[in-house]
């Protein structure tokens, strides 16, 4: 890995100042992403996975703020940039796709106008050139007859098609990084399959890196090169997909995989992680997973450090599992 990473996040801390005091929503989040790679960022609601995306994009609203850490895009630290420089970069070198495409799309503007707007915000090109680029982007995400579709309004598209348009807009300025926040969660299985196929193809063709945020381990398992698992604002395990899923070392990762119905024999009781996700304002001391963990000991009252399991595979745990996980499929 001699090349500079497209995106490198180091020891990112995001905090919210609330009436009850400062809540640390992200703590020591680090990862890097190289050209054309897809990283799955997996966690349950409230684990901080979307917040990681917002922090990188500079989309945090007060009282939230990035309190520490570095976010490097091709070696440039975003946190040392002026707000204007960040604005120039957002939508240009990095883009975000949301779960609900109507968050991206303006319901009263034609698709063509919205797409051209996204190009003109960052580059001076003639309208004809811009239109050509829009057409190419729509074709790339698999929208049939892009010429006609450019003149349509968002409500004339189905849910899956809207999500494709949102992806096409994200692709317009050939960004280095796309952050996709649960983009297929609301879609049907057959449509989700179509979108995943397009994303995989696009990364291979353009070298764009993708952070795919999801709660569904099975979706990223077929898509991502790397997986990072989040719990209560920390990345508890990360590594190559096959490593993380085949040799899950953190008790939480293992619990998550074992509780997926498809990973269990039919009609057998599912493995269940006891308890619930703690509120970020009342995190237990030390390892946040300690009260729900079957392996916890007195040592877990201290915060665990990140330790390597194998090449490129790390875990934040005092008692990581060492043996592979057998799934009954």
């Amino acid at each position: 890995m001699t090349t500079t990473a497209q995106l490198k996040v180091e020891h990112l801390v995001t905090e919210f100042a609330t009436r009850e005091g400062v809540v640390r929503a992200l703590d020591d989040v680090s990862f890097e992403l190289h050209a054309g790679q897809i990283m799955g960022l997996v966690g349950e609601s409230g684990s901080g996975k979307s917040l990681t995306g917002f922090s990188i994009m500079g989309l945090l609203d007060p009282p939230g703020r990035v309190a520490a850490g570095r976010i490097m895009i091709k070696g440039q630290d975003i946190r040392s940039m002026t707000p204007e420089q960040v604005r120039q970069m957002r939508g240009n070198r990095m883009a975000m796709i949301f779960q609900d495409p109507m968050m991206t799309l303006n319901p009263v503007m034609k698709i063509s106008a919205q797409m051209i707007e996204a190009i003109e915000a960052h580059r001076r090109v003639s309208k004809a050139v811009a239109l050509d680029e829009c057409r190419a982007a729509l074709a790339m995400v698999g929208i049939p007859s892009p010429d006609e579709r450019l003149n349509a309004y968002p409500h004339q598209f189905s849910g899956g098609m809207r999500q494709r348009v949102a992806i096409a807009i994200a692709l317009l300025n050939k960004p280095d990084v796309i952050i996709a926040d649960e983009p297929t969660t609301a879609l049907d299985v057959t449509i989700q399959g179509q979108i995943l196929a397009e994303v995989q193809k696009i990364c291979r063709q353009t070298g764009t890196s993708v952070i795919w945020i999801t709660h569904d381990l099975s979706v990223v398992s077929g898509l991502a090169d790397h997986i990072s698992v989040m719990y209560a604002g920390r990345i508890v395990e990360q590594g190559a997909s096959a490593e993380v899923l085949g040799n899950p070392s953190h008790p939480y990762t293992r619990g998550l995989i074992r509780s997926v119905p498809a990973a269990n024999a039919p009609n057998q009781p599912l493995y269940q992680i006891p308890g619930m996700t703690p509120a970020l304002s009342q995190l237990p001391a030390g390892c946040a997973f300690r009260p729900r963990c079957e392996k916890s000991t007195a040592a877990c009252l201290d915060s665990p450090l990140v330790v390597p399991v194998s090449t490129g595979h790390t875990v934040r745990c005092f008692h990581p599992f060492r043996e592979p996980l057998e799934l009954s499929q």
Binding site: E44, T190, L245
Partner: protein, 334 residues
């Protein structure tokens, strides 16, 4: 299943939504205009039977009519055609007293427990309202009854005085289940009951469903878009596409030897945890609007193996193996 009378059966059920031509346009029609009634056939000539203590999984994508079929099974909707049978007896022909008994025996659990729980009622009142109304318990026994219900679904008795918003997502699901169980039902229709839950919580609720099935001899119609969940729970699986059943069979048959091209497409896109990267080969095309469904087999415009007759002729459900029926013209070719 033919030896034994099914617990609940739907026979040739059709439910359409829409509007008939209003008086003005009817008048215009007399002058030669051609305005027609517009209907969406949410459920079109569907027959389904569920045996006692069976778990039937009903699978399909959005707009296929699975929720409508669920509501028809519970009796929340009246069918436009077809009959509903309870233990072999047509419900529509029963006396009002008997009908009320059936209504209590069939209960529904909704996807969004938040939307289906009254925000101004305390948990204890939510679960005891129905049994009090139907005089299954007396007001004196209310507390005790709620405590035993709470214990059944794994809620702490201290939570009884809380309001719905004070529960977490998983606890709200449990509360919705407790409310359904309060009237001693025999049959539960679960409409996407675990879809909104996180994986670790979903596992807890699915385990509860299986536990209750064993403890209370319950029968389930489990509606879900999630094949993994259905494979885990269901004895028998029914696949719907645009208002029709396209395939049904035992879990082992459907997941082992799927017959219909649509089922095969669904299964190949079903996300499972795998260790190698997947190359996706998705079915092309979108789910057509139920307003204007394709002629013949509804799936033919997206079907990779479509024949000429698929566009004109509706395929019928036919047995392809023991206890396994599929509606596909390709089965005539062999």
């Amino acid at each position: 299943m033919s030896e034994q009378k099914p617990l609940l059966a739907l026979d040739g059920i059709t439910k359409r939504f829409g509007q008939s031509v209003d008086p003005l346009h009817r008048l215009l029609n007399k002058l030669g205009a051609k305005h027609q009634d517009q209907y969406v056939y949410a459920v079109n000539d569907v027959s389904l039977s569920v045996a006692s203590k069976e778990v039937v999984g009903l699978v399909g994508e959005s707009g296929c009519g699975k929720s409508t079929l669920g509501r028809l099974a519970v009796g929340l909707l009246e069918p436009d055609a077809g009959k509903r049978f309870w233990r072999g007896q047509a419900v529509a022909e029963m006396s009002p007293t008997e009908q009320r008994r059936v209504r209590l025996a069939v209960q529904m659990i909704f996807q969004d427990p938040y939307a289906s729980l009254n925000p101004r009622m305390r948990a204890v009142d939510i679960v005891t309202e129905a049994p009090l109304q139907h005089q299954l318990i007396s007001a004196r026994d209310k507390k005790e009854f709620a405590i035993s219900l709470f214990a059944k679904v794994g809620l702490a008795p201290e939570m009884m005085e809380r309001f719905a918003h004070q529960f977490s997502g998983g606890q709200r699901s449990r509360l919705g289940i407790a409310r359904a169980l309060a009237v001693n039902p025999e049959f539960l229709v679960c409409d996407e009951a675990v879809a909104a839950l996180d994986v670790s919580i979903q596992a807890q609720v699915l385990n509860l469903f299986m536990q209750l099935r064993a403890d209370l001899d319950l029968t389930y119609l489990f509606i879900s878009h999630d094949l993994g969940v259905v494979r885990h729970l269901a004895d028998r699986v029914v696949i719907m596409y645009l208002g029709r059943i396209v395939e049904e069979g035992t879990g082992a048959e459907i997941f082992g030897h799927a017959n219909h091209p649509y089922t095969k497409a669904l299964l190949s896109e079903m996300p499972v945890i795998r260790l190698e990267r997947k190359t996706y080969h998705p079915v092309a095309g979108e789910i057509p609007s139920p307003m204007h469904p394709p002629t013949g087999c509804h799936f033919h415009p997206r079907c990779p193996q479509a024949l000429a007759r698929c566009a004109s002729e509706v395929p019928l459900l036919r047995e392809v193996a023991s206890g396994h029926r599929s509606a596909c013209h390709l089965n005539d070719m062999q």
